[in-house]
Assembly symmetry: C2
């Protein structure tokens, strides 16, 4: 990325570069890439081999103690972890295409749907993945019974999402937002654990086709 | 509460009233009360008996389909669920005492710490509570083995929080924020499942005493 914050908070061209450390197939990494694509932010992405534990080494742990990806490194070395915190940074510094709401009420509604997607769907999918597959069993204790419970909860929440989209183009009315980005990234990742929309989810399927067709969905 | 949004987005006195539906002992309810106390927002709180399932009845489900508390009802009947979405609404409409950051970088850092507290501590405490105690066993499937895993993860994360507070008055430097509110509410709730700071957590204990002494902590 060839832009950086000046003291006035305006993004300008400069030679040093911000970086995002990520793993391209991880759903949280895609959330950030899609968010930045919607805002036309060009970024340098550095791949970490999370299966081999590259995110756990001392250099990366010093930058981001949780060891989760993605994380953002600013030009001065300041690091920001957590998907939503990275998105918040660019929402505040790049005025193009606000994705977290334009009025106080809309900002609250976006936060509400962002979190509903996250807690009742994406996180359940993630728990199903981690606890059912044992993918990270070297660094956590998988409980397969809980993985199955989480997977069922995620599948059940698809009905609620379908209901919300019955009268609404996007999760928050006609306004495409970070909540929609979260949902499509979570839905695509959910296929790994065989959690899928059914033919009865007509509104969700219509929404899925629409959002999948955005250029940012390929980011 | 005797204030409401005008079309210009400014809070003004009026006769109708917003309400927050909650259960006073729930940690998420306290997060919102403490947030509003810090911002000097007077609010009407309506108690729901969640043990008896009052949040699950059709009237409340229509207002907030997730059935979680707290949720906010605006004067025009619009409802906002999710703790952070309620806080966001008041952060955007009440300019006193910003608690979600004052600059782009600080907003990102607050979001980062808010989410770290939430995902790596509060949520683990909540999972430990729900899966170990069976408190909500009529409406979910407790997996006690997972409750124990979550409790251990929460306890382990206290070391990381203590480390962050070694050189920092609050979680984000000298700036008291919603991240600190989340942490104290989670820490106090954690005692229910016997997750406590140890004498070795000297920085966290210093922070805890400081934040507990704020008038808002009694909200």
């Amino acid at each position: 990325m060839n832009t950086a914050l000046t003291a006035s908070g305006i993004l300008t061209k400069r030679e040093n570069s911000m970086k995002i450390y990520e793993a391209s197939t991880a759903p949280n990494a895609r959330r950030v890439r899609m968010f930045l694509a919607e805002k036309n932010v060009d970024m340098e992405y550095v791949q970490l081999d999370i299966a081999a534990g590259e995110n756990l080494n001392s250099e990366n742990r010093a930058k981001n103690p949780t060891t989760k990806i993605p994380f953002l490194e600013l030009d001065d070395g300041t690091c920001i972890g957590e998907t939503l915190a990275i998105c918040r940074y660019f929402e505040e510094t790049v005025s193009d295409n606000p994705l977290m709401g334009r009025t106080p009420l809309e900002k609250a509604q976006v936060e509400m749907w962002q979190r509903r997607v996250e807690f009742y769907f994406m996180m359940q999918v993630g728990m199903c993945f981690q606890h059912s597959t044992g993918y990270f069993k070297d660094r956590m204790t998988p409980v397969p019974e809980y993985g199955a419970v989480a997977g069922k909860a995620a599948t059940k929440y698809l009905d609620d999402l379908n209901a919300q989209l019955a009268d609404s183009k996007y999760l928050v009315g006609d306004y495409f937002s970070i909540a929609d980005i979260n949902l499509i990234c979570a839905l695509d990742f959910a296929r790994v654990v065989k959690i899928k929309m059914s033919d009865e989810h007509t509104h969700l399927l219509r929404w899925y086709q629409d959002v999948s067709a955005r250029p940012s969905a390929k980011a």
